[in-house]
Amino acid sequence: MVENRPFLTFLAHAILIVGVVVIAFPVYVTFVASTLTLEQIMSVPMPLWPGDQFVANYTQVLTAGSTKGSTAAVSTMLLNSTVMALGIALGKIAISIISAFAIVYFRFPFRMTFFWLIFITLMLPVEVRIIPTFKVIADLGMLNSYAGLTIPLIASATATFLFRQFFMTVPDELAEAARMDGAGPMRFFRDVLLPLSKTSIAALFVIQFIYGWNQYLWPLLITTDESMYTTVIGIKRMIVGSDAANEWNLIMATAMLAMLPPALVVLLMQKWFVKGLVETEK
């Protein structure tokens, strides 16, 4: 702050506090609802103070699930979401880092062609090719499988670009020194490039974990078997009709569980999260 203006400082805090409260409110309501009985929620207005059903509701969803719509246990869904999120995050990092390595550190015929082929995928988000991609997955027999949930989403131009960008900043002399030391390309990749890429990998991991965990349209299409539902899909499937028809206490408990892992990743890895967000958009 350049000059001391107590009123403006007060105003800034006031606006921020209002912002934080407004933004937190939906989640607070969700949390409260997840600790109430269904009757309490239905008695308009619902209480705005947590009830005593926390253990009961969460135990119910984790072990048995809701009784309407989807009846799968949310613990299975959490497992599916974890597999999907980790699969997408790690898969993307793995295939992107090696293809970026090839494109930056080798000269070979069709190098630029490959580069542009990968680049174009930026322009084809899953939403615009829903039906044909679904058909491909169905033809490959990958419906209701972890492979189907993860593999189609792990090709990523952004991750490849991020690594390419980073490799470009690694001094040429490091690779030359490694060559003089007798390291072949893969040895250089493993011993030098990979350790140097740690922060980029961490940043990318945070972003892609959240991306994978929060996928909606894709699992919605290819999972018809309850045992393959991800948490986000499970919530949607628990909503069977208009307001009063749903077990809101259980839905809200599931929503809390769906939000928790990615929120924790964001908060605990805040530094990487911010770095990842800013760099993948370059």
Binding site: L16, I23, V44, I95, L124, I131, V136, W213, I251, F273
Partner: protein
Amino acid sequence: MEKRVVFRSAWLPYALVAPQLAITFVFFFWPASQALWFSFQLQDAFGMHTQFVGLQNFGNLFKDSNYLDSFRTTAVFSVLVAGIGIALSLLLAVMADRVVRGAFAYKTLLIWPYAVAAAVAGVLYAFMFAPSIGIVSYVLKGWGVSWNWAIDGTDAMILVVMAAVWNQISYNFLFFLAGLQSIPRSLIEAAAIDGAGPGRRFWTIIFPLLSPTAFFLLVVNVVYAFFGTFGIIDATTQGGPATSTQILVYKVYHDGVKAADLGGSSAQSVILMAIVIALTVVQFRYIERKVNY
């Protein structure tokens, strides 16, 4: 920019790009070309007969008032999401940049909505604003506001815009905050010495310097409103009531999956692809300019 050092191997680079290329071909190019191919075909309801019809699907689309309505809905929706989202997050970012004490705490408290899935955000808002049991609906009723997004198109639009803005605000906030923090302190101090008060400093120094960030966020938010909000729509209004919140991407899904109109849905996909390509080009031209600057 090219590397000076290169490794030599006849097969290794191909092996390294192979996984990504294979996935790209199987799950990107093949489906995308299929979409293009289907968009020129007409299929009967049972999928028994297909017929090549050229541009007829596209022609039908642009004669279809539903489709044109969906375009209009998408435009309204994305303008609202981008406009409100950018304005609110800019306000919060400027305030967070101003406070010294607690800045990190505020930042932490403002960034986590990014972690919430769009569909979950939709469910949260659907619940709070549920016409009969929602806590916010109840308060609004107390104020004499009649609110029911299940039957009122405008209310439904407001609901999905709120959920979308809420979901995207942390992203915008972080970029604005980073932009603000990259403005050299000495510039602000020079302006203060020149006698510019806080308001004037904001509009004459800070805001112009932030405009590249704002433009970038505009593009990102439009892309988000076009595609990223599918989960919100599906978890709340499902495009309704009637088609008042049926944005383009939802219509592709609806026509293709629910109504099984392969040709029409594919033609819509192709049009959406064209829009994405246009937006990407805009974004890249912007980045190029930034680099040159």
